[in-house]
Symmetry: D2
Subunit: 301 residues, 4 copies
């Protein structure tokens, strides 16, 4: 497997088309697109890496996985009164279905749904406490206390995030925001601005496989359900394509990171900043397609 | 497992809410809703059943799985130029996204996409030959030459299928129909009118697991991809819900049947005519949720 | 006014951009785009013309005005249970709103609504009788018995009109078609294939002004309402633009003709085959803008 | 005419169904629904009234007419690069078409478009100055310096206007907001909170007819165009219905007021707080239908 990872990293380095770095978050627009990292945290505790696996990046929407686990831990299945579990068929920041469905976002992995998730784990507490709890969850999962939030990125997103403000006010107009819009947005933007390396992210994702050496952070039923949501909704309107090509549940972020779970086997983090037309890492998706195929790791047989 | 199946059949028989039988196909409107059957065809060749597992029913959209396999066998990945691989987020007969996406249906499991699949395997041949080939495929997979088409149901669907005619003409207006609309519709309605029992359907589905005792009908890569499409798109706008609750790829039909695949383990057919609000078998979905949970059969860990 | 018409015809002849002739109806695709005609039938009976005002053209959707008058004459306000009176904001052949509004077309001037109108005046009679009645209405209005249907154009539209077949079957699936789809489509395509010259069309439109010399074909209240629908819905998703620029009610056809009404003053027909992006005659719209401005003929003061 | 107005006011008072007062703006929810006023300002300067024509009400979206005139006075036709001129076919606060059309609102009379209008007349100035200019325009048109803004209503709208905040941020995310969102919203909510009586509103609307006794506030071409927009877009998704039933351009507000223009003849203001399903005054619309029919005042002949 180590050789395969090196081979994949080399292929990525030589790829003529690395996609385009997202430009709508000014702090991220300047990231060097010629970076690629991959890390595989196995069920038995071993960790393999290749490429820029120790370079920190902005996990952005990958954070929605941890936020969902935290919100479910707080309110359980009551969350599903406020957000659905269906793929949206639309882009990550679409407001279309919100209007048709009376302010209930399609799933917790599009932006509108993630705002509801954030509002849920924020609850009565203040943003600092809520974000502290989220970081504790991630640090515990990764067994690494150095994971932190990049404040500059958070402020950049708050200053330019008109679309997210629009979604949040829309939810509020339908009574689907409990805390003040500004407070939820501030928390959400800080959550997205968490920085991790591939190594850290792969380790943090191990709570979604059935790993022997760690106490379970979530019950087996919940773990399966989070994986199911990652499979059907983890890549926006490219989710079907990812399931078709890779065959494993995953969650992407606009920073170029993807967390992929091979149930019972491994948690995999891949990162490359250039995006494809769905807003998912181009080289990251290609690398995962090769990796899953070569390893024979598909949940589909 | 046999005891579990009997227990599930008993629970189904006692369920106070069995959903509503589809009424838009007159021939199917008269089906007795108090029926429930389940059959499990294991990887090793054994078959377990409970309830009305030997009562034939109209497989309807479950046929789209076999039609897809046949069409892929004929043109391979070229199919994907004419139909997408993404969940639609809309009902089985929606025409909305067709307009936005210039006549390319979202996936082969909604009606519009299945019409393209039928048009693909129909190709140059005539409907009788094409349907003969489809039946041969299904009979070979199930090792049962008695599987047949219910002509009365087919005629009933042709006579009342305005929505499907509308979809087909819409595709034709975008140049995405090769054969004449009437010919494709006739073939499609006969395909949907195939009748099978749970026993037959479970056996026919074994080509989607990795069964030792039979020669593979499709290559491993294709098998995985069909399962992936069943997971993300197999239950229309209830696909995310099925993945969340059951955790296995499946394809439902408006006749009340569902084919579910547990990769490497079993092909499962469940049938009960009453439908939930997404148009999928209500008791069938509930039975599969119980079965998968009790067996611990989830692809998600 | 005669000088103004000649000036306008000359300007049209010299225009560098004449729009694009519609190509989706094969019989119409070959029409010479370098043609322009205009005719003004005044309230007092005088008729002024310029350019190719005696060249017959396919009136296409302009026929929807006469068909609406005929259908209202047959069923009166009951028509409004089956079709709305609101602009659609979408293109002439859109199927989008039909899905959202359960098979009730937005207005009688988009294709879906016009199919309901045709189905209404067709009623129990056969297409030949119904079309005969429509022609009698138009011939009486224009006082010209030579107006006829171009059978080749009608057949061309039937052979290639997949979008209209799609719309009609969609309406039928919602129970909003009384006669058989093929019969309605055949009638509709013949209705669209009526041929008229600008001179004939301007005269035929006089029933929508308050002309002294002719017996009223429709009551005053109905005349006003037809004009109102032409104002808000007569140019598809370019209706607002036409009202803004011209300020008079009008109905366009894809053959390049436009019938415009200046209430109490005149009925105007303009024709040039090249279309703008909304599918309305480009030079025809520009000519009407100039004519209305120079004459000071706006209903808006 | 005076008798007709009294008759109409009496009929309104006796109407069993007065519609429902809008509840989403708390300050307006408590308005007594049993009120009805009407005022007709004739071309020659006479003014006739009936009912509660001297009770002030919140003009709300009727303000969009004056705001449009002010914005056009400032930037002229450049406004049309930022907002369209087509009916939307959707409700007043819909965000659907904004997504499809890249942040260009359909017309200046739906909320999204009115936010662009406000942003346009706000320009570089501060809200106080801009609102001062708007008030000066209205006061000059009505020749009444007592017209003012209800600060409590404005604050109520700012505090609860999540949908408008959502629309404004959406526009900003597409680069179609020049000033800060909060500043535009504050100005917009104050604009909507202008209070007028029917008498004042009818007088203020006289700049849209061709009145002899006053210097024109807008040129004839602009006046016609504003009337055209009122005709096609003045009543949201009930615009076609109003044109069909009343036959005159009008603009409604959620406070229950409607300003109606009979070009060359009169400016009419009607008010009753109960709304129909489109969000337009129910009794106001009915009163205008009766009035226009009895007077024979239709622009359509």
């Amino acid at each position: 497997m180590q050789e395969l990872l090196l081979e994949i990293a080399e292929a990525a380095a030589g790829s003529p088309d690395k996609g385009n770095v997202a430009t709508y978050i000014p702090e991220l627009a300047g990231v060097d697109p010629d970076q690629f990292g991959i890390a595989v945290a196995l069920e038995d505790g071993r960790l393999l890496t290749a490429g820029d696996a120790d370079v920190p990046f902005s996990i952005q929407s990958v954070s929605k996985v941890f936020a969902l686990a935290l919100a479910l831990g707080r309110v359980g299945d009551q969350l599903w009164y406020r957000v659905g579990r269906e793929p949206s068929g639309l882009s990550f920041d679409s407001i279309l279905l919100l209007e048709r469905e009376d302010g209930i976002p399609r799933n917790p992995f599009i932006n509108a749904g993630a705002l509801v998730t954030t509002d849920t784990y924020l609850a009565e507490s203040n943003p600092r406490e809520a974000l502290g709890e989220l970081l504790r969850f991630i640090r515990a999962a990764a067994d690494d206390d150095s994971i932190h939030i990049n404040e500059r990125v958070a402020q950049s997103e708050i200053a330019t995030g008109h679309r997210n403000f629009s979604l949040a006010h829309y939810l509020a107009s339908h009574g689907n925001m409990r805390s003040a819009v500004d407070k939820v947005l501030g928390t959400y933007c800080h959550q997205c601005a968490i920085e991790m390396t591939c190594r850290q992210l792969a380790l943090a994702g191990r709570f979604l496989i059935d790993a022997d050496d760690m106490p379970p952070l979530v019950a087996v039923q919940r773990r399966r359900r989070i994986n199911a949501l990652m499979m059907t909704c983890g890549h926006y309107d490219g989710s079907g394509d990812f399931a078709f090509r890779v065959g494993l549940p995953g969650k992407s972020g606009v920073g170029g990171g993807i967390l992929v779970i091979s149930p019972g086997r491994a948690s995999i983090a891949v990162w490359s900043p250039g995006l494809n037309r769905y807003g998912n890492s181009k080289l990251g998706t290609e690398a995962m397609e090769t990796f899953a195929k070569r390893m024979g790791w598909s949940v589909f047989g």
